[in-house]
Symmetry: C2
Subunit: 550 residues, 2 copies
C-alpha cells in the first residue's frame, strides 16, 4: 500500500470503477454540477520552495528534504487541504521533515530549533482537518515538521491494571496489533483510525468508539510524557487524583503548542464478549432526538448511540425514513447486555420509534444478542462506532469508512463535500440545529445555488449531543475552497451564536481560531499564553495554533 | 444549631453521654492512654492579634473583625487543626472575614486586596484537612478571608439537559433542598457534605457519592465562573468539547490560587428509583482486593464499592472477619439493577467472598432489590456512600457520619485519630499498602508506642483503587500534633515512594506541599506558576497553597 500525498489514505484504496460510477450517478441524481474529473498534479510540477535551512550534522540523518515528503506534510486532510493539493497550491511547506527515533532525538531537535528560532510542527498521522499541521505562518526563518512515526511501539503492559505504556507515534492498527496478543484493546476508533496516531489523538482530544462515557481519549489517559523546550513533563501513573489541577489536562488538547507528546500510559479494555444491537426508525425527528436524550440520560451507557437524520439515513445507510434512524449497540467483556438494549429500545418505543426489521443476519428488531467472536478482530469493522445494529447499520458503517475516500473522489469532480461538528446542551439543540442547517443552506444558495445538509450524532451525553453535519454541494472547479470557506464561516457563526462549541473532537488548529478565540474565556487565554511563554520561550512550537503566531 | 468554632460541625451534635462512654470504653480496651478530658478554650482567652487592616468604607459592611469569626476561619478541620484550637494555638488568623453578597462584591474585594497587596483566602465550608484555608504565611500586610456563604442559591434549572446554575457558596444540604422540588439531585456526598460547599468541592476536586465513574466533582461540571484579579473567566455550558485544553480543568483543583469560583453549571441526576445492595465477607484480604478489582474492571459501575479491611470492619461496621467486607450497591433512576448486583456478587464468590446474611431488613445475602422510596430524601443517610448494603453497611454508614465528631471527642482525650488517602494502580497496591501500613505502625511505635491502622477503599477505578487509611493511637496531651505530624510524614514518604498520589480527594493545601512538589511534573509547575503570575499578578490569592508563597 502507498500513502497518498494529496488525499486520504492509500492510493490503492481510492474510489474507482463501479464504486465511482455509483457515487457519481447518485450525485447526478441529487444535483446538476459539472462532474469532469481532475487529476492530482505531479509532485515534480509543484515547484516547492527550496529548504531554507539544513540540519546540523548530528541531526541530519533524522531529516528529509525530499519534495514528496515535504509536500505530504504541508497540509492535513480536510476537504480544503485535498482541493488545494489537487490544484498544486502548496504555499506553505515545511523546510525539513524530521523523524526522531526516540525521546532523546525529540529533545535534540527541539533544542536546535529553539536555539535557531525555527518553527516546529509536531505531526502524527497528519489527518488534521483544521489546519493543525500546516505551517501557515511567517516570522520564523524556517519550519521543521516533527513526524513521530518511528515512535511506534507498545513498551510495557500492565495486565493487572489493564494499562500499557505506548509511544505516541503509533498508528491505530499497529497499536491494536500489539495489544491483541494480550487480549486487550484501547478501543479508540476515530474515523481516521487507520491513518492517525496515539499522540495525535491526545494532542487533539480525539473522539472515538464509545458514544457514551469514554467519548474523548482524555478519559483513557493514565499518565503522559511530554517533551517541552523547558524539559520533559512526566506525570505519575494514577487511576485518579485530586492533587492540584490535572497536569495531563493541560497537555491534552494543546495541539503541539506546549510540547511534543512522546508516550503515554493508556487505560485499556478487555475485548468485548457480548454485543447486542438494534436500529430504530422514527417518523419524526424531534421524537428521535427525545428518544436519544432519554437513552443518554438513562445510565444504560450504550457503546453506540448514533442518530442519523433522514438525509443521512438515506445517503449513507440506504434507509428511507421521515425522522431518522437511531443505531444502538451495547457491548461488554463481562456480562450479557441484551436487557440493556431491550430497555433502550423500550425508551425508543416510548417516543414512537420502531425497530427496523432487518434481513436475515441482522438483529435489529428483536434486540438479539450475539457472542462477539470476531468483535475487534477487524479494527476497520469497528471504527464505524463499533458494534452496529442490523443491516442499515452495516450499510452505514461500511459507508462511514469509505467516506473520506469518496470525499476525495467528489473533490476531484468539483463537488464540495465536507463535515463539521459541535456539541451543545439538549435545551439548545433544536435552535442550534435549525440555525446551523439554515445557515448552511443559505450559504450554499449564495455560493453554489443548492446543496444538501445532513446531521448525525457521533456522541451523546446526559446533558447534550455532539451533532456532526455533512455538506454536499456542486462547486465550481477552482473555487471550491473559497466556496467551502464561505459555508464554513456561516455555520461556525451559527454554532457560536447558539451556544455550541466550535469543535467537539476535530480540534482548533488554525482554521477554528476566530470562533475558538471567542469561545475561550479571556482569563484562560491569559493563563494559556503565559504557560506557553514559560514552556516554549522561543515560541517555536506550532505557531498560530490555539494562540496567535508571534 | 450552632457551628463549633474549634471542631467539627454543630456544637449540639458533639459526642456526649452514652455515645462518649461507649467510645472511650472501646478505646480503653484497645490502648492504654491517658483519657482525661480537655475543654476547648474561650475565644476571649485566645488573645488574637488585632486586625492589621480595616476595609474601605464601601466594603466595610461586608467585613467582620469579630474575634469569634476570625478564630473560626483560622484553621480547617483536620485533626491538627482541632487540637491546635483546643490548645488555643491560633498563630495565624485572618485580619478580616469578608462575606460578599454577589460577584460584584467578590470583584471589588479582590481589587482592593490586589491593590494593597493584602492576601486573600477563599473560604467555602472551611472543612479543609490540608491547611488550605489557614493563613500560614508572611510577606503580606494583612489577610482577608473571603467567606462565600452568602452565595447560596440555585439560580437556574435546565430540566431538559438536567443541569443547574448554582452559586459556589451553597452548603450541601441547602443545595439538595433547592434541587429536590425539581426531582433532581447533584448526588455529590462527601463525608463533609453538611459542612462544605459547591465552590469548595470544585476548588479541591472533591470526591463524592459514586465509588465508580463519577468519583470526583470534576466530571459533573458543565461550566464555571471564576473571578480572577485579571477578570472573570466564564466557560461555555457544554456537554463535551475538544476545543483546546479544558479551561475548567485548570480551575478545578486550583484551591483558590488562581481565582474565586462564584458559580457553576452542574450536571444533575434523577433521584434513584431502584437500588440493590449487598455486603460480602472475605477471609483473605488479597482475595477481597482481587474481587474488588474484578468488579471495578467489569463495567458494572456500582454506585458503592467500598472494601473495608478487617480492622475497619470491626471498628466501624461491627463485623469480625479475617479479610474484609465489601459493601456493594447499585442504583438507577431508569431500570432495575438487581442483575448487576448479582453479577458483582458472583465475581466476589469467584474470589472466595460470601454475602453476609443480614438480620431482617437487610438484603445483603440474596442480592435483593428495593424500590428506593426514601432514597435521597435524607441526604445525611446518603452521604455514607449512598445506597448501602445490609446491616453491616448500615452500621458502617452511621459510624461514617459520626466519625468527625468522634475524632474531636478522641482529640479532647489525647487520642490521635486521623485519616489520609491516596490512589495507585492495581499492580502497585499490595506493595503500597504494606509499606504505608508498616510506615504508620513504625511511626506510631516511635511516637506513641502503639496504635491501629485501618484501610478502606473510598473509590475504585478500572486501573486502581483509592485507599483511605485511618490511624488511631494514644497520644500525649500537648504533643499530639507533633506526634501526628511525625506519622503523617512517614506515611506520605511511603505513598510517594510507592507511586501513589499524595491525595486522591483531600487536596494539597499547605500540608501536602512537600510531596505534591515531588509528584508534580516540573514543566507543569512552570506552566502553573506562569498562569498564576498572569492571573494574579499581585500574588495575593491563597499564598503558599500549591505553589511557594512569594
Amino acid at each position: 500500500m502507498t500513502r497518498s500525498w494529496w488525499g486520504w489514505g492509500n492510493i490503492e484504496d481510492a474510489v474507482s470503477g463501479a464504486e465511482l460510477r455509483t457515487l457519481l450517478a447518485r450525485v447526478r441524481a441529487l444535483t446538476p454540477g459539472d462532474l469532469t474529473e481532475h487529476e492530482p498534479p505531479d509532485i515534480a510540477s509543484l515547484g516547492l520552495r527550496e529548504p531554507r535551512v539544513s540540519a546540523p550534522a548530528a541531526l541530519a540523518g533524522l531529516c528529509s528534504a525530499e519534495p514528496a515528503d515535504r509536500a505530504a506534510h504541508a497540509h492535513g486532510k480536510a476537504f480544503r487541504d485535498v482541493v488545494r493539493n489537487l490544484h498544486g497550491d502548496l504555499r506553505h511547506v515545511p523546510d525539513l521533515v524530521a523523524r526522531p527515533r526516540d525521546e532523546r532525538d525529540v529533545t535534540d531537535l527541539l533544542d536546535w530549533c529553539s536555539g535557531e528560532g525555527i518553527a516546529v510542527v509536531p505531526f502524527g498521522g497528519g489527518s488534521s482537518v483544521v489546519g493543525g499541521v500546516e505551517p501557515r505562518f511567517d516570522g520564523h526563518p524556517a519550519v521543521v515538521t516533527l513526524d513521530l512515526e518511528r515512535l511506534d511501539r507498545v513498551l510495557e503492559i500492565d495486565r493487572t491494571s489493564r494499562a500499557a505504556r505506548i509511544q505516541a507515534g503509533v498508528f491505530g492498527p499497529h497499536l491494536e496489533d500489539q495489544l491483541r496478543p494480550h487480549g486487550l484493546t484501547l478501543r479508540h476508533f476515530p474515523q481516521s483510525f487507520e491513518f492517525s496516531t496515539l499522540g495525535g489523538w491526545l494532542a487533539t482530544r480525539a473522539g472515538g468508539h464509545y458514544a457514551t462515557l469514554y467519548t474523548h481519549i482524555d478519559d483513557m489517559v493514565e499518565s503522559m510524557r511530554v517533551v517541552t523546550p523547558s524539559g520533559v513533563s512526566a506525570s505519575r501513573r494514577l487511576p485518579g487524583s485530586g492533587a492540584g489541577p490535572s497536569p495531563d489536562r493541560l497537555f491534552l488538547g494543546s495541539e503541539g503548542t506546549l510540547g511534543v507528546i512522546t508516550e503515554a500510559w493508556m487505560r485499556l479494555q478487555e475485548r468485548p464478549r457480548w454485543r447486542a444491537k438494534a436500529s430504530v426508525r422514527f417518523d419524526d425527528y424531534p421524537a428521535a432526538v427525545a428518544a436519544t436524550r432519554a437513552i443518554a440520560q438513562s445510565g444504560l451507557h450504550p457503546a453506540n448511540c448514533r442518530l442519523l437524520d433522514a438525509a443521512e439515513s438515506l445517503i449513507n445507510a440506504g434507509v428511507s425514513v421521515g425522522g431518522g434512524v437511531l443505531v444502538l449497540a451495547f457491548e461488554s467483556a463481562d456480562h450479557p447486555v441484551r436487557r440493556s438494549l431491550e430497555r433502550a429500545v423500550e425508551l425508543c418505543r416510548d417516543h414512537g420509534g420502531e425497530p427496523l426489521a432487518d434481513p436475515p443476519g441482522g438483529s435489529g428488531g428483536d434486540a438479539g444478542e450475539e457472542a462477539a467472536g470476531t468483535c475487534g478482530e477487524n479494527s476497520a469493522r469497528d471504527s464505524g462506532g463499533g458494534a452496529s445494529g442490523g443491516s442499515a447499520a452495516e450499510t452505514w458503517r461500511s459507508s462511514f469508512l469509505r467516506m473520506p475516500y469518496q470525499r476525495d473522489a467528489l473533490a476531484r469532480h468539483s463537488m464540495i463535500a465536507e463535515t463539521f461538528e459541535t456539541a451543545c446542551t439538549w435545551d439548545r439543540f433544536d435552535a442550534l440545529h435549525r440555525a446551523v442547517t439554515e445557515a448552511a443552506r443559505q450559504a450554499m444558495r449564495e455560493v453554489t445555488g443548492a446543496g444538501v445538509v445532513t446531521c448525525r450524532f457521533t456522541h451523546v451525553y446526559p446533558d447534550g449531543p455532539a451533532p456532526y453535519f455533512g455538506v454536499y454541494a456542486p462547486g465550481r472547479w477552482g473555487s471550491t475552497v473559497s466556496q467551502w470557506d464561505h459555508i464554513k464561516a456561516a455555520v461556525s457563526e451559527a454554532i457560536e451564536a447558539h451556544g455550541g462549541t466550535i469543535t467537539h473532537h476535530h480540534a482548533v488548529g488554525r482554521d477554528h481560531r476566530p470562533w475558538y478565540d471567542r469561545q475561550r474565556p479571556d482569563p484562560f487565554a491569559t493563563a494559556l499564553s503565559a504557560a506557553k511563554a514559560a514552556l516554549d520561550p522561543a515560541g517555536v512550537l506550532n505557531p498560530g495554533v490555539l494562540l496567535p503566531a508571534p
